[in-house]
């Protein structure tokens, strides 16, 4: 009834190739952007912004990065938490060693550092794939956990090994309130999401998908596997590096080496599986799910009035988390993004059954 594309004819190539070909989608996206930028900062509570919205946005960015690699190029990685750590520590070191540098430049440099590291650890992908590659990327995870815990230079010789960063000064505007932080993160994430959406529609993205679907065939039609895979690793790590820097500077403020442990890597993988492999939107769905679920599970016993010890709650959280992952894999292997697509299909015909 409301979601029908009758009468929307494409008369130019530009119209045929646009990102959101259906008018209702464009309106919805516009409404969403207006809502996120202009309404949410004024109505959401500080807690809501600090504990849910900012982590959601940053993790969505990281998941997006991983999705570019795993969902679009088909290379599994269990080391993206480490690439986030590289981004965070690179940003920290650049920020304290080069005072007066704009944070935007720091972010880009942090992303580049992560991209370089990602490419180095992506080299094994030229020879191996699948589960073997997963283990190879795990090596990055454990190596960088160790590096940032032990090499004193990276933490600026802090005795406890944890680092803390000052508030960010952005062209004279200090990001010291949750609202400002939120808007800054939102702007960055929106920009990168738009970039990613275009990237996967462009030549690079198509070469990634060709490699994912069948590498030999891709090679035969003239795609260089090395360039495609390493560029996927570089772009993906760049996204994660930026996300890591944001995570450290804006969400955490001060952090220990364990902030970027293997749990984070696994969570990123969960996000893209639950959200949907090979879907930009899915990365956001997955991140929302993983951020909100633990908070809900934590609150549930209090709401239901069941007294429970905190350790009991955390164990139950683990259990429900694991069970939900299995459930999702069985019920909808293509993730929440697929559910969304099905919903849209149904809506086209609604209220008629056929």
């Amino acid at each position: 009834m409301f979601y029908r594309e009758n009468g929307q004819f494409k008369t130019t190539y530009a119209a045929d190739q646009q990102m959101l070909p259906i008018r209702q989608d464009r309106l919805f996206m516009l409404a969403l952007v207006v809502l996120a930028f202009a309404v949410v900062p004024f109505i959401a509570s500080d807690y809501m912004i600090r504990a849910i919205l900012i982590p959601f946005l940053i993790l969505a960015l990281a998941a997006l990065g991983l999705n570019l690699l795993t969902g679009y190029c088909g290379q599994v990685s269990l080391g993206h938490g480490a690439f986030m750590a590289v981004g965070a520590y690179a940003a920290y070191n650049i920020a304290i060693r080069v005072p007066g540098l704009s944070f935007l430049v720091v972010l880009v440099l942090a992303g580049l550092a992560a991209a370089l590291v990602g490419m180095i650890f992506g080299i094994p992908s030229l020879r191996i794939k699948g589960l073997y590659l997963a283990v190879a990327t795990l090596a990055a995870q454990f190596f960088f956990d160790w590096v940032f815990a032990r090499v004193k230079w990276f933490t600026n010789y802090a005795p406890s090994g944890s680092v803390s960063v000052p508030n960010i000064d952005l062209f004279g505007l200090v990001l010291n309130t949750p609202q400002r932080k939120y808007l800054f993160v939102l702007a960055i994430v929106a920009l990168f999401a738009l970039l990613a959406k275009n990237l996967v529609r462009a030549r690079v993205g198509r070469s990634w998908m060709a490699i994912r679907d069948m590498d030999v065939a891709a090679e035969v039609i003239g795609i260089r596997p090395m360039a495609a895979k390493l560029s996927a690793f570089a772009v993906s790590s760049f996204y994660c590096g930026v996300a890591g820097a944001l995570w450290g500077f804006i969400h955490l403020g001060s952090w220990e080496p364990l902030a970027f442990s293997i749990t984070l890597s696994l969570n990123l993988l969960f996000m893209i599986i639950i959200g949907g492999l090979g879907s930009i939107l899915g990365s956001f769905f997955g991140a929302a799910f993983i951020v909100v679920l633990p908070i809900l599970l934590n609150q549930a016993p209090t709401w239901l009035g069941i007294p429970m010890s905190t350790s009991m709650i955390s164990h139950l959280e683990f259990m429900i988390f694991g069970a939900l992952i299995i459930f999702f894999l069985i019920a909808e292997p293509h993730g929440l993004a697929r559910l969304w697509a099905i919903g849209k299909e149904k809506l086209r015909l609604w209220p008629f059954p056929h």
Binding site: A136, D145, R150, S311, F318, A323, I326, P333
Partner: protein, 334 residues
């Protein structure tokens, strides 16, 4: 032949050089060196056992079972808590029954609905099982540190004090553990080679469809394989628990076993054993002899290189010989 294999040969030469370097340079007394190697072998036995669980399941069902570590923890917790009210061998028997039930449940609820999915989906499913088992085990059995007392004296025994100055300290418990592990591996080898079920298992490992078409019930085979992996996890858990106490960190052993299977080859049982021993010895030697050198050279805040040493070793191996030491040649190569 030699031309193609020179990187492998170089890597092995490097390994051997690293192995004897502390002795050759006189950096340590011989007795101490042997003690470190023995300690590494003991850790290696445990890695081997966990890796064995991986390999068994991977061979038979093509599933990369991330939950092996969680199974080790769960089995160890079951034994430790039940042993509080009954003799430990009875607790161990009951725990075997629990692990078999668990295998059946996993096959029913997780594997069967996911048949024909991609490998990554199955890997994720076992990650889900990991989370579930970690939470479930600690909900049911508690999350403190528990002891498993096998009734073996813990005091170290001095051996070979004629050969080396000061002798070598060996734990009797470690010795029993090594013998138990060897017995388990021998038993498994017999089971796989000599029994009809073992033959069916090998057939499934070789070719799923062919096995199914000659009437081997895949589902039952999977239950059996997961049960066997569960029992292996149980043995690993009991040995580990008796040595260091049963606690959550056991679950993390699984992560150490991943480089072991890379090194040994995903599909090779002997590979898992040898790989485990190599990694165990290698990382102990690296920690004791290479660690201080690195700390001094780079002004580190402490060693701890055993956390990533195994992974880097595995990564090197992946680059020169992706199928591992004993794995099958035809792996997914690009």
């Amino acid at each position: 032949m030699l031309k193609r294999n020179w990187p492998v040969a170089a890597l092995i030469a490097l390994l051997v050089a690293g192995l004897v370097a502390p002795l050759a340079t006189g950096a340590s007394p011989a007795g101490f060196y042997v003690e470190v190697v023995l300690g590494g072998l003991m850790a290696g036995v445990l890695y081997s056992l966990v890796a064995l669980g991986f390999v068994l399941i991977f061979k038979a069902s093509g599933v990369f079972n991330f939950a092996q570590g969680a199974m080790v923890l769960f089995a160890a917790l079951s034994v430790a808590r039940m042993a509080e009210v009954m003799p430990w061998w009875l607790a161990a028997l009951l725990a075997v029954a629990i692990m078999v039930a668990l295998a059946w449940l996993i096959e029913r609820l997780v594997l069967r609905p996911l048949v024909n999915q991609e490998a990554i989906a199955l890997l994720m499913a076992t990650l889900g099982v990991t989370y579930f088992l970690d939470g479930f085990g600690q909900t049911v059995w508690g999350s403190d540190i528990y002891e498993i007392n096998l009734g073996i004296a813990k005091e170290p025994v001095m051996v070979l004090d004629r050969l080396f100055q000061g002798g070598i300290l060996v734990n009797k418990e470690d010795f029993v553990a090594a013998v138990a592990a060897a017995a388990l591996v021998a038993g498994l080898a017999l089971f796989f080679q000599k029994t009809p079920t073992g033959r069916a298992l090998r057939a499934v490992a070789d070719d799923h469809q062919a096995a199914q078409s000659i009437g081997i019930p895949l589902n039952r085979i999977w239950v059996i394989v997961w049960s066997v992996a569960g029992v292996v996890a149980l043995v690993a858990g009991v040995i580990w628990g008796a040595k260091l106490g049963v606690q959550f960190s056991i679950s993390q052993v699984a992560l150490k076993a991943l480089p072991v299977v890379i090194l040994g080859g995903f599909t090779s049982v002997p590979g898992a054993i040898v790989g485990g021993l190599i990694i165990g010895v290698g990382e102990k030697l690296a920690e004791v002899f290479l660690g201080p050198v690195l700390v001094k050279a780079f002004d580190l805040a402490g060693g701890g290189i055993e956390n990533w040493f195994a992974y880097m070793l595995a990564l090197l191996f992946l680059l020169v010989r992706p199928e591992g030491l004993f794995g099958e040649k035809h792996i997914d190569r690009v």
